[in-house]
Amino acid sequence: MTALLTGTGLYRSYGPTPALRGLDISVAAGEIVAVTGPSGCGKSTLLHCLAGILRTDAGEVRYRDQDIGLWSEAARSRLRRTDFGVLFQFGQLVPELTAAENVALPLLLAGSGRREARKSATLWLGRFGVGDLADQLPGAMSGGQQQRCAVARALVTEPRVLFADEPTGALDVLTGEQVLTEIVHVAREQGTSVVLVTHEPRIAAYADREVALRDGVLDPTGLGLGLGA
């Protein structure tokens, strides 16, 4: 498979502490890759670097054969709005906006009209089973419902790559698996690649491939959480 996104020789440190130490990774179009490893091994940093949220200290991140590390902050923001979707564990929804407005936000930023953005948002909320909550504020929803809204927002622009950092970390097992099943289903349906950061084997099992990290490099044992590299 042709690589859609590659990271080569990625190095990133926080002060004197290295988080990534010359790591290589590639993600093919439509592929679901689980990045696993113990706490502090550099999983989230890798995701942030691949998504253009953080710049690497050394190495390059190429998306569709372009080195996004050379792009400006604004250009990388645009990329995350158009081609990438980003999903975190919690704290993503704007508390004052309704579910539909939260989901419509990326479309409005991309220049869509309010009516069509709202229509798309409602559609996507419906796909994730929370269509009837379109006019609710996040504070009035459960954690699972909020996360479904966040997933809808991350996918509403039909991104080519979805970056998910522990997307089910704040949910109970059943809800977490439901949300993940829906993410995988939609990703497969529209050919979206997914970079999924997790430390749970059952979540990693949803991926096509597992990339295990240890101390900022690929785990030399290659065992990871058991899915196999």
Binding site: S44, R78, R81, F88, Q92, E96, L97, E101
Partner: protein
Amino acid sequence: MKPATLVRLAAGGGRTDALRMAFTAASAVLAAVVLLAAATVGAVPELGDPGDGSAAWNTRYSSPLIAEPGLRPGVVMTLLLLAVPVLFLAGQSIRFGSPARDRRLAALRLAGATPGQAVLLAAAETATAALLGSLLGTGVFLALRVLLDHPEADGRRPLPTDVLPGIAAFVLVLLLVPVLAGLIGAFLLRRVIITPLGVVRRTRSRKPRLWPGVLILAGVFVPFVIRPLGEFLAHAGGSTGRDLSIAGAFVVVLLAVVGVVVGTGWISYTGGRLLHRFGRRPAVLLAGRHLMADPWNGSRTLSALLAALVIGAGVLGYRAYMVTQFAASDAADRLSADGGEGYGAENSFYLNSVDLVRVAVAVGVVVAAAGIMVALAEGIVTRRRTYAALVAAGVPRRVLGESLAWQTLTPLVPAVLVALTVGLSLVRGVAQEATAGGGGTCDGTEAQCADLTSPYWHLSPEVTLAVPVPLGQLAVLGGAALLVMLLVVGVGLIFLRRSTDLDELRIA
């Protein structure tokens, strides 16, 4: 809980807690200095001899504002007014970094503290910071007293640097600020439920009603009936009636200020609805929803600024009235047969006295703006995780900054206009025109003067001039407030930039 444990736990927070304590202490320093200055002016003795007509003038001071007993209460009042925005600043400082404090209080609850002990700790933290500030402020006051003590060649002083307030005043000021700060701290936690698993804030879901508008209208229109009512009461009830009309005027001013401040909640909500209804851009939508979600934030944060503007507009109106009154007196003097001296050189003295209040209002606006800056920074820091996640998802920081500007300025612009209108109306209700002359003197005998048409009578013509609306000065005051707020928003954008640093995603 032992007092020592209470103090140790209250003062044992993290960096944000230390910053909050520093802000609170700094505002307590300002409050202590201002209040002690007021107490000092109040303590100036009256040295004059009532027998020779110099009643109570204190000749030790060159500034008439201090020397003249009639003006001293005005100076004290001005300083006390100045303390109001400073106390508001303390109120805003107490809120700073509340999420970090909430987490700490929740952890203490988990360790076994009762809800009452948690609130007591929060109040104690605030009171301790304020007490330190009060003590430091007292030191600053005593140092300033020495530094500013410059007697002139004739031995007189421009400021009462040779007078100290009584011990009771010192103790009162030292305790007043910490007690007030502690009470405000406890008051702010009234909607907060501190549980061992976290902090729950009860929000007001009720939309702002229109009743504050009634208070604003009272502020605008009631002054127009105060004068005739006061004249009627004074005529019917003598001095009691006059006192009643003065008390009525104070109540009207208070109602107007409360109306403007509380009415800003309604203005925020309505402004938010309009932005949400008609806004097309995401920044406007975000701002609209933010204003609708917490309309009281506007009235809470802008209250000191708006109170300063109401008073400032009133002072400008009164100054315009004074200038017109002097002009009318001069005109009446010129028209009278024998000519008069008018107010002459005294004009500038009285106008300078009013200008002193204008300076106090300007300082009040700046202090209020500092309070708003603290509140704005606090709001940004509280929401930093959401902001950082939005930026990570590709939302440009410019959109968030624009939203911040919309949500600050949308309620501010109409609220400033309302505050200026109300402040001006308070004065114009009783002083739309200035009248001078119209009297007469008679240098004849009693019998000769009995006939009002006799040539012994020297009548001066009555001159009535309309008091102009000081539009230019009001525009400067309102413009300055908006400019200061733009600066505040600018600083807020710097905070926003730092708070949307994507490292927040790691530490959130």
